[in-house]
Symmetry: C2
Subunit: 233 residues, 2 copies
DNA sequence: GCGCGCCTATGACTTTTGTCACAGAGAACG
DNA sequence: CGTTCTCTGTGACAAAAGTCATAGGCGCGC
């Protein structure tokens, strides 16, 4: 038990909103944090449910999304180890604004609402850190709105691929190779569209020579040309 | 001077994030707040500019929006008296994520970044209140994403009209009358589309008998029927 | 290695959205 | 009163998004 508590503490210390806390303060949280295991695809919380507390990702990834009556989903963010999730509803007392589900096998630490609020009152800097994190989240949402409102599926897909490529980018290498994360369905729900359009647009980019596909491996032969595709449209 | 400072204090006291502060604390802010007047349509701040502080709306309305290279705009929110604006970039140190402009003749109070941060450190509850406000903002953004991603322009327009009508609603009256705010262009940028589609969809709703228009005055003859339009689609 | 389930690709089609051009209503102003 | 400006309404298109149905690939387990 003492050992796992030490583990939790290590996990918590890596989280942006808890950085800078003393060991004693981390222990306060670690003692109260409840670890929870999730299978791939398992729901962590559902949109509209009352919020009991926040989660910290220890292992795996969690996908935050909205779902429509027609069965479509729109991903709002995917958070990995070291991220915290659902800080917001903890504070405004409302329900979860969106659903959360494990992408893969994931371990999360649950921190109760009251414990967290107590911590914030005792340590004003924590609240400021939460605000920073929430600010980043807000920016991301604004970015999604911008993309949905102004750009085409093709553009969003290209921009998504570019981000993937830039992560992998080995300096100024000619051809960047990377692999497509998840299924086309999952890509679609991140881009705010449907499976078929992802498939079609991938084909189209390939036909135009901007992209080469082999299964789930993708290569962008000419990064410059690819980027140029994003500017005008 | 002392008089206008008392005015500022009155204004600040009405703002959600400053509620509960003592008179002395409000004075601290009121002394440092800088009043600024804006003409209709005038820019308050532009997307990407470094953020110097937040604004409190004393009179008038401010529109927060994104604009695209192609000249389209997407409104994120419209805030009236008693609202605060741009709290977020104050905390994460980044630039303004969107632009702000006065809708009508408006008076805003500017509160510098440092003054505000100092206040938050001295009064942890303030930070918690900011988090509540930001939480509401975040929910609204998620709502916009949901609508853009899942629904048609027609649906968004109908839902917008319904909200207007419900405000005006005199109990369970048969026909609700209200007036369309702003031009079709402005409506369009709130709904994430273009002028023509607003015009066309208004015509269509009218042709279907769900709506009656006379200039900018609108009447929904049968609220039930109108609402029913939103459920299935 | 065969079948099954899940995923992809794609053609054909509909609906929705957006663009362009232009005509006309209505207010604002000299 | 006529001019000018802005806003609306609409027809005619063009482009993008989404739907439906179907064929085929790939991996996994029995």
């Amino acid at each position: 038990m003492a050992e796992s508590r030490a583990d939790y503490r290590r996990t918590l210390a890596k989280v942006a909103i808890f950085s800078g806390l003393t060991d004693a303060e981390l222990d306060f949280l670690a003692e109260r944090a409840v670890p929870r295991q999730f299978a791939p695809g398992e729901m962590v919380f559902g949109e509209g449910e009352p919020c009991a507390g926040l989660y910290v990702v220890e292992r795996g990834n969690i996908r935050i999304f909205k779902s429509s009556a027609a069965g479509r989903e729109q991903v709002l963010s995917i958070d990995g180890p070291g991220s915290s999730v659902a800080e917001v509803p903890v504070f405004d007392g409302g329900n979860y604004p969106a659903s959360g589900a494990a992408v893969d096998r994931a371990t999360l630490l649950f921190v109760g609402k009251q414990d967290f609020q107590a911590l914030c009152l005792a340590h004003p800097e924590v609240a400021l850190k939460v605000l920073r994190v929430v600010g980043a989240r807000l920016r991301r949402l604004v970015g999604i709105i911008e993309e949905l409102s102004f750009t085409t599926v093709r553009h969003r897909l290209a921009s998504f691929l570019l981000h993937l490529a830039q992560r992998e980018a080995t300096a100024a290498a000619a051809g960047v190779e990377f692999s497509l994360p998840g299924t086309n369905q999952e890509l679609a729900s991140q881009l705010g569209t449907v499976r078929e359009l992802v498939s079609r647009n991938l084909s189209r980019l390939q036909a135009e020579g901007l992209l080469k596909l082999e299964g789930r491996r993708a290569v962008i032969p000419d990064l410059k040309a690819f980027e140029a595709e994003l500017d005008p449209a």
